[in-house]
Symmetry: C2
Subunit: 309 residues, 2 copies
């Protein structure tokens, strides 16, 4: 009997990560590669996967393959329709997009969409839903989490209730910081040197709360820099705090049954610490969650619930 | 007796415009050139000016020279300290920075700064104060204007009272639109083709009023584009309306003795028409003002009040 029960793959726009699971869910092996699906499309994805995982596929014929992430998007291998909120993991497991490939069962986890009349548009995610399915295995406080926050280029705030996804809102915070830092008239004034001090960062968070006129406050970064009112190494932290402050304030202002108390953060350690410091300012406790651990646990959990292992 | 009484120059970061005034304030000649201050500094400015206006300077020895704009900044010809608000034209005329240059009287109009505890930083302008000094000559309703609005890369909102400058706030609206249009992940989704339709523009204005969560709404431009919920030629107008809506809402929310009713707009005709359409949405009437006419009238008016002509 094969020692392997499942090959799981989290395949996003820029990177892919694969896990080889044993029959008890333990990870026998894992690997990562910069083979984002942004550079491949449709059946070309199958060839890329066959090359990348050739040894596993040869060694374990018939072992099923479960994929999540952008691989299920319009530009991925096979397009899988989004599952609308509210979306519990059991519903995800029951909605896998399954097909046969070279004599092997393959399934793709659908993304989740959230249509909120409050927003006026439909917000979407692919891959994060699988991390959420893995929370019970990687976060002891998972049933107390009000929000799961995924900071980055496009920051996702996912409202949870009893382990299910009830709301989703994406914020352009990371991209906005990069635009202002690299391409705007502020860029010459800012020197972030790769590390911020926490004081100007928190001052920026406070400024966002006090001043809703964000287009004026962004000009204030320039005014402070030009008039030497703030040193260049403080401006980067202040700007980051300002943007993150606006994001958190907006996320917490969304209508909810009860005020949020505990927020899980899945992200790079330094950025996660910044968000945790800012959230403390709003009296929200946080818990750090390892995204790779969560997605691996989620792939295994969904495969089990779907009866694939 | 020389037919000329004054040479006036509006010298900004990118361009310069010069006016030769007759003894009655009529304009005998004018010229413009792309010799912005950003490329010259200190006494080098004097050489650039001497080359550019050589014929006028030769023909009219002793005729005084009055300059306004970035020429008075730290990186200009001579740095002139900002005059703090409230700043009436008579006060500006009494604060000219005067010196002798090659046997001729030269004066630079100081810029104006506004220190507002509400903002947390000091906002500044150079050049716009001279346009304001010219309003009585170019705008019949000048004494009813509550705001003077100068849209562009950095949009200035100047609150007026009895012809004097009482408040100033600058917004990064134009630069933000350009950043998102040219460098962001939205740029591939937007096709503005140089002209917007007014409907999506006004929908964007309405969205700004309804949704303070701007970082989420900016992501919504992408979500709409990716999911084909709005055609590419509508997204540009919608994004512009969203940003301008946030700007106007913030400007009108500033504390004031009385609600604003009439707003003068100094700017390129197409952009000025967009702002006028958006301001009607907020029940504000507008009047278009020609910026070149205003600055010429302002230079003449300040020279008269200062006793230079």
């Amino acid at each position: 009997m094969s020692p392997a029960a499942l090959i799981g793959v989290d395949w996003g726009s820029s990177n892919a990560r694969a896990f080889l699971f044993g029959r008890d869910g333990s990870r026998l092996a894992e690997r990562a590669a910069a083979i984002g699906i942004a550079r491949h499309q449709g059946e070309a994805c199958a060839g890329v996967l066959a090359d990348w995982l050739r040894d596993w596929l040869d060694d374990y014929p018939g072992v099923p393959l479960l994929l999540c992430g952008m691989v299920g998007s319009r530009n991925g291998w096979r397009e899988c329709a989004y599952l609308p909120t509210p979306a519990a993991p059991a519903l995800l497991a029951g909605s896998l997009h399954a097909f046969d490939w070279r004599g092997r069962g393959v399934a793709i986890v659908p993304g989740v969409c959230h249509d909120n009349p409050l927003d006026g548009f439909s917000d979407v995610m692919r891959g994060e839903e699988t991390q959420i399915a893995g929370l019970p295995a990687v976060c002891p406080q998972f049933d107390q989490l009000d929000w799961l926050l995924m900071p980055g280029t496009h920051c996702k705030w996912i409202r949870l209730r009893q382990g299910g996804i009830v709301e989703l809102a994406t914020y352009m915070t990371g991209e906005m910081y990069a635009l202002l830092r690299q391409h705007s008239l502020l860029s010459g004034l800012i020197d972030d040197g790769g590390a911020w001090r926490v004081e100007p960062f928190l001052q920026g968070v406070e400024a966002a709360v006090a001043h809703p006129d964000w287009l004026h406050q962004l000009f204030g970064v320039r005014a402070r820099g030009v008039r030497d009112a703030m040193p260049p190494d403080a401006l980067a932290g202040w700007l980051s705090g300002l943007l993150i402050g606006y994001e958190i304030q907006a996320a917490l202002a969304r209508p909810a049954d009860a005020p949020a108390k505990l927020c899980g953060i899945v992200g790079a350690p330094r950025l996660a610490r910044c968000y945790a410091a800012a959230l403390r300012h709003f009296s929200i406790e946080t818990v750090a969650i390892d995204g790779d651990q969560a997605v691996a646990a989620g792939l295994w959990s969904l495969a089990r619930q779907a009866g694939w292992v």
